[in-house]
């Protein structure tokens, strides 16, 4: 058996290498900071023959997703990537991918939304796509980006639901770190070729996503809703089998750190959740029983796993890098409260918004914030 190879790679490169090892057929792409380096890497790998795929440069993100939808309907394994306003511009076509039950996989490199312009990370862009019917992962390390893209293709093709893999702009996308590349034959064993149940085929003309009457439409919507919830065991299975094959583990629906005996639980996603592991260590040294619960899946929100993982009577400090406009706080806190209501009345939820537009979130700052929240 070949050994895994360790290289230095940015998060953006990790994403491009995962797409290459997933043997993707079609990549429609349009550049936007900080995602551009993924598309540059894809274009280069197709150009120099490293990847046997069709790269389709398009004139905007709406077209990028439209091309992805069309190529997926023709039976191809499809990948694209975007950020912030590019993702928002795709919004309408995201519904076509999920409603059409097309297993597109897309990376969104999280970035704050215009106006005013910002280049740096927050999570308003991906959370704003909550109701588009896409499964959403959020990743906290370069390695997790690589691992998750492969898991995402498997889950997407098993469920016929598109999957979005999110990670922070710059803090991950432009951060150079060691990356373990499993041997290609192991990846091929984990992710077999895409064999769609049907495809658009000029030799055998058919149409799809035609006009439906109310009862049919409602039935399609109910199926999508049910199948998104039913993807949770498949997400877990993908994480477990990826671990069995590669030895790597980033959590399944959730990731935890020093959680078992925790009285104070930090709850956050993406790179700040990695940094929070260091904040937890600082708080533990100060005698505070702190732990971390990081939802790796944002959608479907892993309600049962969160409910069973939280220790008795814990205070949960939700650190939101986004705003839930109209409510005093962030979106994750709102999701968490709706899950706990009537199920875990022993839990207290506190919430702060921080890190908007890429404000640096250091281990010391977040440890101090959590301490301050304990006294609120």
């Amino acid at each position: 058996m070949k050994a895994a190879q360790v290289i230095m790679a940015t998060g953006a490169n990790a994403a491009a290498l995962a797409v290459k090892s997933a043997r993707v057929d079609v990549v429609p792409g349009y550049p936007i900071t900080p995602q551009t380096s993924i598309m540059e890497a894809m274009a280069a790998m197709v150009e120099n023959g490293e990847m046997n795929a069709r790269f389709i440069p398009v004139e905007g993100e709406h077209s990028a997703m439209a091309a992805a939808v069309a190529a997926s309907a023709a039976g191809a394994r499809v990948f694209t990537a975007t950020s912030a306003n590019g993702l928002l511009y795709m919004h309408e076509v995201l519904h076509m991918a999920s409603g059409g039950r097309l297993p597109v996989v897309m990376v969104n490199v999280n970035r704050g939304i215009f106006a005013p312009w910002t280049l740096w990370a927050d999570h308003q862009d991906s959370f704003a796509q909550r109701d588009t019917g896409w499964i959403q992962y959020h990743c906290s390390s370069n390695q997790e980006v690589f691992n998750t893209i492969l898991q995402a293709f498997r889950v997407a093709e098993q469920t016929n639901i598109p999957v979005m893999v999110n990670f922070d702009g710059f803090a991950i996308s432009h951060c150079l770190m060691p990356l373990t590349l499993p041997p290609q034959e192991d990846i091929d064993r984990f992710l077999p070729p895409h064999e769609p149940e049907w495809r658009l085929d000029p030799a055998n003309p058919s149409s799809f996503s035609n006009v439906t009457m109310a009862a049919e439409y409602a039935q399609f919507r109910q199926m999508l809703s049910d199948d998104i919830i039913a993807s949770i065991p498949l997400v877990k299975q993908a994480a477990q089998e990826y671990k069995d094959i590669t030895g790597m583990w980033d959590g399944d629906t959730i990731d935890t750190y020093r959680l078992e005996d925790a009285e104070v639980v930090a709850f956050a996603v993406n790179s700040m959740a990695a940094e929070l592991k260091l904040s937890i260590d600082i708080l533990r040294e100060q005698g505070i029983k702190a732990g971390l619960l990081r939802p790796r899946l944002y959608l479907p929100f892993p309600a049962e796993d969160i409910i069973s993982a939280l220790p008795q009577n814990a205070q949960v400090m939700v650190l939101d890098r986004n705003y839930n406009y109209g409510h005093p706080g962030g979106i994750l806190a709102s999701e968490l409260k709706s899950v706990l209501f009537g199920r875990r009345n022993d839990i207290t939820v506190k919430n702060r918004v921080m890190g908007i537009g890429g404000i640096d979130l250091t281990r010391r700052f977040m440890a101090a914030e959590i301490r301050a929240m304990m006294d609120e």
């Binding site: 390390s141 803090a171 150079l176 060691p178 990695a274 940094e275 250091t362 010391r364």
Partner: protein, 180 residues
């Protein structure tokens, strides 16, 4: 976990220096991380980059606010770089024509500018001071010289690598600690 911040001006090659250091950590059997701060880039504007090295997985993804080492790529930035944050006993490594000591901090000096010029290392922005600085920082961090050299040759196989080796090696062997 060792934390280091590079303070320089846009065009001086701080991103490449950060990448080389992270790569050298990996060559040296450790984990390495380079996290440059990307702004709205302008040549000549102050820039910074975070570098971390650790025997275990690095979870930090913030800029280095209180690093153990600060690399100052121009003597014009000494004051700003130190006041941006460094641990109480943190070490400063300075590229300057003459030796300068920073109050209360162990300070190392290297004339990277002269060494890059001498080796004929130039780009559109001027001498490639990041190459001798890489050698100097490796010496201060006790990264073996052969690891430093291998890192350069892996990045630039062939003649460019050889030319870079000369300047980096000279800096490695001549960077000096200023006595306080």
């Amino acid at each position: 976990m060792l934390e280091l911040r590079i303070n320089g001006f846009g065009g001086q090659g701080s991103v490449t220096l950060a990448h080389l250091l992270a790569q050298a950590a990996l060559e040296n059997g450790e984990q390495g991380q380079a996290l440059p701060f990307f702004g709205v880039e302008r040549r000549g504007a102050p820039v910074r980059a975070a570098v971390r090295m650790s025997p275990t997985t690095i979870h930090a993804h913030s800029q280095c606010e209180l690093p153990d080492y600060v690399v100052v790529m121009s003597e014009k930035l000494i004051g700003a770089a130190v006041s941006e944050g460094i641990t109480a006993i943190g070490t400063v490594i300075i590229n300057a024509p003459e030796a300068v000591a920073v109050d209360k901090h162990p300070t190392w000096h290297v004339d990277a500018d002269a060494m890059a010029r001498e080796a004929g290392l130039f780009s559109a922005d001027g001498p490639n001071i990041n190459i001798p600085l890489f050698g100097a920082v490796c010496r201060v961090l006790n990264i073996p010289q052969n690891i430093m050299e291998q890192t350069i040759l892996n990045k630039w196989p062939g003649n460019n690598g050889e030319r870079n080796l000369g300047a980096a090696g000279k800096a490695y062997n001549t960077v000096t600690q200023i006595s306080l």
